[in-house]
Protein backbone atom coordinates (compact mmCIF):
# COMPACT_ATOMS: atom_id res chain seq x y z
CA UNK A 1 0.00 0.00 0.00
CA UNK A 2 1.47 3.42 -0.96
CA UNK A 3 1.99 6.13 1.67
CA UNK A 4 -1.15 8.02 2.75
CA UNK A 5 -0.82 11.60 1.42
CA UNK A 6 -1.56 14.79 3.41
CA UNK A 7 -2.08 16.82 0.24
CA UNK A 8 -3.71 15.64 -2.99
CA UNK A 9 -3.54 17.64 -6.22
CA UNK A 10 -6.72 16.95 -8.21
CA UNK A 11 -6.06 17.33 -11.96
CA UNK A 12 -8.22 20.18 -13.27
CA UNK A 13 -9.61 20.77 -9.78
CA UNK A 14 -8.71 21.76 -6.23
CA UNK A 15 -5.92 20.86 -3.83
CA UNK A 16 -7.15 18.57 -1.06
CA UNK A 17 -5.70 19.15 2.41
CA UNK A 18 -6.08 16.51 5.09
CA UNK A 19 -6.17 17.67 8.72
CA UNK A 20 -6.03 21.08 10.39
CA UNK A 21 -4.40 23.95 8.55
CA UNK A 22 -4.52 27.74 8.35
CA UNK A 23 -4.77 28.90 4.73
CA UNK A 24 -4.00 32.49 3.71
CA UNK A 25 -6.05 33.73 0.73
CA UNK A 26 -4.93 36.14 -2.03
CA UNK A 27 -5.95 39.14 0.12
CA UNK A 28 -3.81 37.99 3.03
CA UNK A 29 -6.80 36.88 5.12
CA UNK A 30 -6.29 33.63 7.03
CA UNK A 31 -8.86 30.84 7.13
CA UNK A 32 -8.74 27.82 9.43
CA UNK A 33 -9.87 24.50 7.99
CA UNK A 34 -13.05 23.15 9.59
CA UNK A 35 -13.47 19.67 8.15
CA UNK A 36 -11.46 16.43 7.97
CA UNK A 37 -10.46 17.19 4.36
CA UNK A 38 -10.61 20.64 2.78
CA UNK A 39 -10.48 21.60 -0.91
CA UNK A 40 -8.46 24.71 -1.77
CA UNK A 41 -9.39 26.45 -5.04
CA UNK A 42 -6.75 26.30 -7.79
CA UNK A 43 -8.75 27.74 -10.72
CA UNK A 44 -9.15 31.19 -9.13
CA UNK A 45 -12.86 31.39 -9.95
CA UNK A 46 -14.39 30.21 -6.67
CA UNK A 47 -16.98 32.35 -4.89
CA UNK A 48 -15.93 30.94 -1.50
CA UNK A 49 -12.20 31.69 -1.55
CA UNK A 50 -9.94 30.07 -0.51
CA UNK A 51 -12.16 26.99 -0.69
CA UNK A 52 -13.26 25.20 -3.88
CA UNK A 53 -16.95 25.55 -4.78
CA UNK A 54 -16.89 23.34 -7.88
CA UNK A 55 -16.71 26.25 -10.35
CA UNK A 56 -13.68 24.72 -12.15
CA UNK A 57 -16.15 22.29 -13.75
CA UNK A 58 -17.97 25.04 -15.65
CA UNK A 59 -14.96 26.93 -16.98
CA UNK A 60 -13.33 25.90 -20.29
CA UNK A 61 -11.04 22.87 -19.86
CA UNK A 62 -8.01 24.84 -21.11
CA UNK A 63 -8.43 27.31 -18.21
CA UNK A 64 -8.57 24.61 -15.53
CA UNK A 65 -5.51 24.13 -13.35
Amino acid sequence: MSEHPDVIVCPGGPLLLRGDHVVQDEDGVTHRTTRPVSAVCRCGKTSTSPWCDGTHKVIPARNRP
Binding site: L16, A39, D53
Partner: protein
Protein backbone atom coordinates in the same frame (compact mmCIF):
# COMPACT_ATOMS: atom_id res chain seq x y z
CA UNK B 1 -43.22 7.63 12.99
CA UNK B 2 -46.35 5.60 12.30
CA UNK B 3 -46.81 3.38 9.25
CA UNK B 4 -47.57 5.50 6.16
CA UNK B 5 -50.88 5.63 4.32
CA UNK B 6 -51.33 2.61 2.02
CA UNK B 7 -51.44 3.38 -1.71
CA UNK B 8 -52.93 0.15 -3.07
CA UNK B 9 -54.06 -3.34 -2.18
CA UNK B 10 -50.59 -4.72 -1.35
CA UNK B 11 -49.58 -1.87 0.97
CA UNK B 12 -53.08 -1.90 2.52
CA UNK B 13 -52.76 -5.56 3.48
CA UNK B 14 -49.06 -5.33 4.35
CA UNK B 15 -49.37 -2.39 6.75
CA UNK B 16 -52.46 -3.84 8.38
CA UNK B 17 -50.72 -7.18 9.02
CA UNK B 18 -47.50 -5.50 10.21
CA UNK B 19 -49.42 -3.37 12.72
CA UNK B 20 -52.09 -5.72 14.01
CA UNK B 21 -51.74 -9.33 12.86
CA UNK B 22 -48.07 -10.24 12.41
CA UNK B 23 -48.91 -13.90 13.03
CA UNK B 24 -50.81 -13.85 9.70
CA UNK B 25 -47.93 -12.39 7.66
CA UNK B 26 -47.64 -15.70 5.78
CA UNK B 27 -50.77 -14.72 3.85
CA UNK B 28 -48.78 -11.95 2.13
CA UNK B 29 -46.83 -14.54 0.13
CA UNK B 30 -47.43 -14.30 -3.61
CA UNK B 31 -49.20 -10.93 -3.36
CA UNK B 32 -48.14 -8.45 -6.03
CA UNK B 33 -48.30 -4.65 -6.02
CA UNK B 34 -51.26 -3.05 -7.74
CA UNK B 35 -49.23 -0.27 -9.41
CA UNK B 36 -45.89 1.59 -9.00
CA UNK B 37 -47.11 3.74 -6.08
CA UNK B 38 -48.23 0.61 -4.23
CA UNK B 39 -44.90 -1.12 -4.92
CA UNK B 40 -42.74 1.84 -3.87
CA UNK B 41 -44.55 2.63 -0.61
CA UNK B 42 -44.52 -1.08 0.33
CA UNK B 43 -40.80 -1.36 -0.32
CA UNK B 44 -40.11 1.96 1.37
CA UNK B 45 -41.89 0.77 4.53
CA UNK B 46 -40.08 -2.59 4.50
CA UNK B 47 -36.76 -0.73 4.26
CA UNK B 48 -37.79 1.63 7.03
CA UNK B 49 -37.91 -1.37 9.38
CA UNK B 50 -34.09 -1.37 9.01
CA UNK B 51 -33.69 2.40 9.56
CA UNK B 52 -35.73 3.76 12.47
CA UNK B 53 -38.83 1.55 12.24
CA UNK B 54 -42.41 2.49 13.10
CA UNK B 55 -43.94 3.12 16.50
CA UNK B 56 -46.91 0.92 15.56
CA UNK B 57 -44.84 -2.07 14.32
CA UNK B 58 -42.91 -4.59 16.43
CA UNK B 59 -39.14 -4.12 15.99
CA UNK B 60 -38.61 -7.87 15.59
CA UNK B 61 -40.49 -7.82 12.25
CA UNK B 62 -37.39 -6.35 10.56
CA UNK B 63 -36.20 -9.92 9.97
CA UNK B 64 -39.57 -11.70 9.65
CA UNK B 65 -39.09 -14.32 6.88
CA UNK B 66 -42.28 -13.40 5.03
CA UNK B 67 -41.39 -9.71 5.04
CA UNK B 68 -37.83 -10.46 3.94
CA UNK B 69 -39.27 -12.60 1.10
CA UNK B 70 -41.66 -9.84 0.00
CA UNK B 71 -38.89 -7.26 0.19
CA UNK B 72 -36.76 -9.54 -2.00
CA UNK B 73 -39.47 -9.71 -4.68
CA UNK B 74 -40.00 -5.93 -4.71
CA UNK B 75 -36.24 -5.37 -4.77
CA UNK B 76 -35.83 -7.75 -7.72
CA UNK B 77 -38.42 -5.70 -9.64
CA UNK B 78 -36.65 -2.43 -8.78
CA UNK B 79 -33.17 -3.71 -9.60
CA UNK B 80 -34.35 -5.16 -12.93
CA UNK B 81 -35.94 -1.80 -13.80
CA UNK B 82 -32.80 0.17 -12.85
CA UNK B 83 -30.56 -2.17 -14.85
CA UNK B 84 -32.87 -1.99 -17.88
CA UNK B 85 -32.89 1.82 -17.84
CA UNK B 86 -29.09 1.79 -17.55
CA UNK B 87 -28.67 -0.66 -20.45
CA UNK B 88 -31.02 1.32 -22.66
CA UNK B 89 -29.50 4.73 -21.94
CA UNK B 90 -25.80 4.07 -21.54
CA UNK B 91 -24.84 1.41 -24.07
CA UNK B 92 -21.10 1.03 -23.66
CA UNK B 93 -19.77 1.52 -20.13
CA UNK B 94 -16.70 3.80 -20.03
CA UNK B 95 -13.30 2.49 -18.90
CA UNK B 96 -12.62 3.68 -15.35
CA UNK B 97 -10.77 6.91 -14.65
CA UNK B 98 -11.73 9.85 -12.43
CA UNK B 99 -11.99 12.07 -15.53
CA UNK B 100 -14.22 9.51 -17.27
CA UNK B 101 -16.50 9.51 -14.23
CA UNK B 102 -16.66 13.32 -14.00
CA UNK B 103 -17.36 13.46 -17.77
CA UNK B 104 -20.09 10.80 -17.45
CA UNK B 105 -21.88 13.00 -14.89
CA UNK B 106 -21.25 16.25 -16.82
CA UNK B 107 -22.54 14.75 -20.08
CA UNK B 108 -25.77 13.55 -18.48
CA UNK B 109 -28.47 15.93 -19.61
CA UNK B 110 -31.54 16.41 -17.46
CA UNK B 111 -33.92 19.02 -16.10
CA UNK B 112 -32.61 20.95 -13.08
CA UNK B 113 -34.73 21.64 -10.03
CA UNK B 114 -31.86 23.75 -8.67
CA UNK B 115 -32.00 26.12 -11.65
CA UNK B 116 -35.76 26.43 -11.24
CA UNK B 117 -35.40 27.22 -7.54
CA UNK B 118 -32.61 29.67 -8.35
CA UNK B 119 -34.62 31.85 -10.72
CA UNK B 120 -38.29 30.97 -10.98
CA UNK B 121 -39.79 28.99 -8.11
CA UNK B 122 -42.37 30.53 -5.78
CA UNK B 123 -42.09 30.22 -2.00
CA UNK B 124 -44.82 27.56 -1.97
CA UNK B 125 -43.01 25.52 -4.61
CA UNK B 126 -39.74 25.67 -2.67
CA UNK B 127 -41.52 24.62 0.54
CA UNK B 128 -43.07 21.72 -1.42
CA UNK B 129 -39.63 20.69 -2.60
CA UNK B 130 -38.18 20.85 0.93
CA UNK B 131 -40.98 18.62 2.20
CA UNK B 132 -40.27 16.05 -0.51
CA UNK B 133 -36.51 16.24 0.00
CA UNK B 134 -36.94 15.75 3.76
CA UNK B 135 -37.68 12.04 3.22
CA UNK B 136 -34.03 11.66 2.20
CA UNK B 137 -32.20 14.52 3.90
CA UNK B 138 -33.35 13.57 7.41
CA UNK B 139 -31.41 10.32 6.97
CA UNK B 140 -28.74 11.72 4.71
CA UNK B 141 -25.71 9.45 4.23
CA UNK B 142 -27.21 6.63 6.33
CA UNK B 143 -27.86 4.18 3.51
CA UNK B 144 -24.25 4.01 2.29
CA UNK B 145 -23.02 3.41 5.86
CA UNK B 146 -24.35 -0.15 5.50
CA UNK B 147 -21.59 -0.87 2.98
CA UNK B 148 -18.70 0.06 5.31
CA UNK B 149 -17.97 -3.44 6.70
CA UNK B 150 -18.14 -5.01 3.23
CA UNK B 151 -15.22 -3.05 1.74
CA UNK B 152 -11.47 -3.61 1.56
CA UNK B 153 -9.37 -1.57 3.99
CA UNK B 154 -8.39 1.28 1.64
CA UNK B 155 -11.91 1.83 0.29
CA UNK B 156 -13.40 1.52 3.78
CA UNK B 157 -11.05 4.16 5.24
CA UNK B 158 -11.73 6.46 2.29
CA UNK B 159 -15.51 6.13 2.68
CA UNK B 160 -15.29 6.83 6.41
CA UNK B 161 -13.27 9.98 5.76
CA UNK B 162 -16.28 11.31 3.79
CA UNK B 163 -18.93 9.88 6.13
CA UNK B 164 -17.23 11.43 9.16
CA UNK B 165 -17.83 14.86 7.62
CA UNK B 166 -21.48 13.94 6.75
CA UNK B 167 -21.97 13.04 10.40
CA UNK B 168 -20.59 16.38 11.61
CA UNK B 169 -17.14 15.02 12.62
CA UNK B 170 -18.77 13.74 15.79
CA UNK B 171 -20.56 17.03 16.53
CA UNK B 172 -24.35 16.47 16.37
CA UNK B 173 -24.88 20.20 15.66
CA UNK B 174 -22.97 19.81 12.40
CA UNK B 175 -24.57 16.54 11.30
CA UNK B 176 -25.87 17.27 7.81
CA UNK B 177 -29.26 15.66 8.48
CA UNK B 178 -29.55 17.82 11.63
CA UNK B 179 -28.73 21.00 9.69
CA UNK B 180 -31.56 20.17 7.29
CA UNK B 181 -33.91 19.57 10.24
CA UNK B 182 -33.11 23.02 11.66
CA UNK B 183 -33.71 24.53 8.22
CA UNK B 184 -37.12 22.86 8.02
CA UNK B 185 -38.10 24.16 11.48
CA UNK B 186 -36.96 27.68 10.65
CA UNK B 187 -39.07 27.47 7.46
CA UNK B 188 -42.19 26.57 9.44
CA UNK B 189 -42.11 22.93 8.33
CA UNK B 190 -42.04 19.78 10.43
CA UNK B 191 -38.58 18.36 11.13
CA UNK B 192 -40.09 15.14 12.43
CA UNK B 193 -38.47 12.14 10.77
CA UNK B 194 -40.78 10.81 8.05
CA UNK B 195 -43.39 13.58 8.53
CA UNK B 196 -44.04 14.06 4.81
CA UNK B 197 -43.86 10.51 3.47
CA UNK B 198 -47.58 10.44 2.71
CA UNK B 199 -47.23 13.49 0.44
CA UNK B 200 -44.38 12.33 -1.78
CA UNK B 201 -44.85 10.96 -5.31
CA UNK B 202 -43.66 7.47 -6.29
CA UNK B 203 -40.59 9.01 -7.97
CA UNK B 204 -39.29 10.24 -4.59
CA UNK B 205 -39.95 6.86 -2.98
CA UNK B 206 -38.19 5.08 -5.85
CA UNK B 207 -35.21 7.44 -5.49
CA UNK B 208 -34.99 6.61 -1.77
CA UNK B 209 -35.60 2.89 -2.33
CA UNK B 210 -32.77 2.68 -4.87
CA UNK B 211 -30.33 4.01 -2.26
CA UNK B 212 -31.52 1.48 0.33
CA UNK B 213 -31.28 -1.30 -2.27
CA UNK B 214 -27.70 -0.36 -3.13
CA UNK B 215 -26.78 0.14 0.52
CA UNK B 216 -28.20 -3.07 1.96
CA UNK B 217 -26.80 -5.63 -0.49
CA UNK B 218 -23.11 -6.42 -0.30
CA UNK B 219 -23.12 -7.55 -3.96
CA UNK B 220 -24.28 -4.03 -4.94
CA UNK B 221 -21.37 -2.21 -3.23
CA UNK B 222 -20.13 -0.95 -6.61
CA UNK B 223 -23.51 0.59 -7.38
CA UNK B 224 -23.68 2.09 -3.88
CA UNK B 225 -20.34 3.88 -4.19
CA UNK B 226 -21.05 4.92 -7.78
CA UNK B 227 -24.37 6.40 -6.67
CA UNK B 228 -22.67 8.23 -3.81
CA UNK B 229 -20.05 9.64 -6.17
CA UNK B 230 -22.60 10.87 -8.74
CA UNK B 231 -24.66 12.41 -5.94
CA UNK B 232 -21.61 14.35 -4.68
CA UNK B 233 -20.49 15.34 -8.19
CA UNK B 234 -23.89 16.91 -8.88
CA UNK B 235 -24.30 18.67 -5.54
CA UNK B 236 -21.91 21.60 -5.16
CA UNK B 237 -23.00 23.89 -8.00
CA UNK B 238 -26.75 23.07 -7.66
CA UNK B 239 -26.53 23.71 -3.90
CA UNK B 240 -25.25 27.20 -4.60
CA UNK B 241 -28.17 27.85 -6.96
CA UNK B 242 -30.64 26.61 -4.37
CA UNK B 243 -29.08 28.77 -1.63
CA UNK B 244 -29.37 31.80 -3.94
CA UNK B 245 -33.00 30.89 -4.73
CA UNK B 246 -33.84 30.60 -1.03
CA UNK B 247 -32.32 34.05 -0.39
CA UNK B 248 -34.15 35.49 -3.42
CA UNK B 249 -37.40 34.41 -1.75
CA UNK B 250 -36.35 35.59 1.72
CA UNK B 251 -36.52 32.09 3.21
CA UNK B 252 -34.71 31.56 6.55
CA UNK B 253 -30.91 31.65 6.73
CA UNK B 254 -30.88 28.29 8.55
CA UNK B 255 -32.22 26.63 5.39
CA UNK B 256 -29.84 28.51 3.09
CA UNK B 257 -26.98 27.59 5.45
CA UNK B 258 -27.64 23.90 4.83
CA UNK B 259 -27.11 24.47 1.10
CA UNK B 260 -24.08 26.76 1.71
CA UNK B 261 -22.51 23.94 3.69
CA UNK B 262 -23.07 21.59 0.73
CA UNK B 263 -21.39 23.94 -1.74
CA UNK B 264 -18.16 23.68 0.22
CA UNK B 265 -18.48 20.17 1.67
CA UNK B 266 -19.45 18.54 -1.60
CA UNK B 267 -16.65 20.26 -3.50
CA UNK B 268 -14.45 18.13 -1.21
CA UNK B 269 -16.70 15.08 -1.20
CA UNK B 270 -16.91 14.82 -4.98
CA UNK B 271 -13.13 14.57 -5.20
CA UNK B 272 -13.01 12.02 -2.38
CA UNK B 273 -15.93 9.97 -3.69
CA UNK B 274 -14.52 9.72 -7.22
CA UNK B 275 -10.77 9.58 -6.56
CA UNK B 276 -10.18 7.99 -3.17
CA UNK B 277 -13.40 5.95 -2.70
CA UNK B 278 -14.40 4.69 -6.17
CA UNK B 279 -10.74 4.81 -7.23
CA UNK B 280 -9.80 2.48 -4.37
CA UNK B 281 -12.74 0.18 -5.05
CA UNK B 282 -11.78 -0.17 -8.71
CA UNK B 283 -8.17 -0.89 -7.74
CA UNK B 284 -9.32 -3.61 -5.31
CA UNK B 285 -12.15 -5.01 -7.43
CA UNK B 286 -11.85 -4.01 -11.10
CA UNK B 287 -14.91 -6.06 -12.08
CA UNK B 288 -17.16 -3.57 -10.24
CA UNK B 289 -16.67 -0.73 -12.75
CA UNK B 290 -19.96 -1.50 -14.54
CA UNK B 291 -21.86 -1.42 -11.24
CA UNK B 292 -20.20 1.88 -10.28
CA UNK B 293 -21.64 3.37 -13.47
CA UNK B 294 -24.98 1.63 -12.86
CA UNK B 295 -25.15 3.39 -9.49
CA UNK B 296 -24.06 6.71 -10.97
CA UNK B 297 -26.57 6.51 -13.82
CA UNK B 298 -29.37 5.52 -11.44
CA UNK B 299 -28.61 8.51 -9.21
CA UNK B 300 -28.75 10.94 -12.15
CA UNK B 301 -31.72 9.28 -13.87
CA UNK B 302 -33.88 9.02 -10.73
CA UNK B 303 -33.27 12.72 -10.03
CA UNK B 304 -34.36 13.48 -13.63
CA UNK B 305 -37.59 11.58 -12.99
CA UNK B 306 -38.26 13.54 -9.80
CA UNK B 307 -37.50 16.81 -11.62
CA UNK B 308 -39.79 15.92 -14.58
CA UNK B 309 -42.62 15.09 -12.21
CA UNK B 310 -42.31 18.25 -10.10
CA UNK B 311 -41.62 20.67 -12.97
CA UNK B 312 -44.56 19.12 -14.83
CA UNK B 313 -46.89 19.59 -11.85
CA UNK B 314 -45.71 23.14 -11.26
CA UNK B 315 -46.16 24.08 -14.92
CA UNK B 316 -49.73 22.75 -14.97
Amino acid sequence: MLTPKPRGTLSQTLFELMRSRPDELGTIRGRRPEHPDDAQISLWALYELSFRGFEDVEESLEWHPDLVALRGELEADLEAELRERFRTAVGEVPAWSPDAFFDFCADHDGPSLASFVHRDASTDQVLDLLRLRSVYHLKEADWVAWQVPRLDDTTKAALMELQYDEYGTGNPHRLHAGMFARGLEASGLSATYGAYVDEVPAEILEQNNAMSLFGLHRRLRGAALGHLAAFEVTSSLPSRRIAQGLRRLGLPEAMAAYYDEHVEADAVHEQLAVRTICGALVAAEPTLVTDIFLGAFSCLDLEDRVAHRLLGEWAA
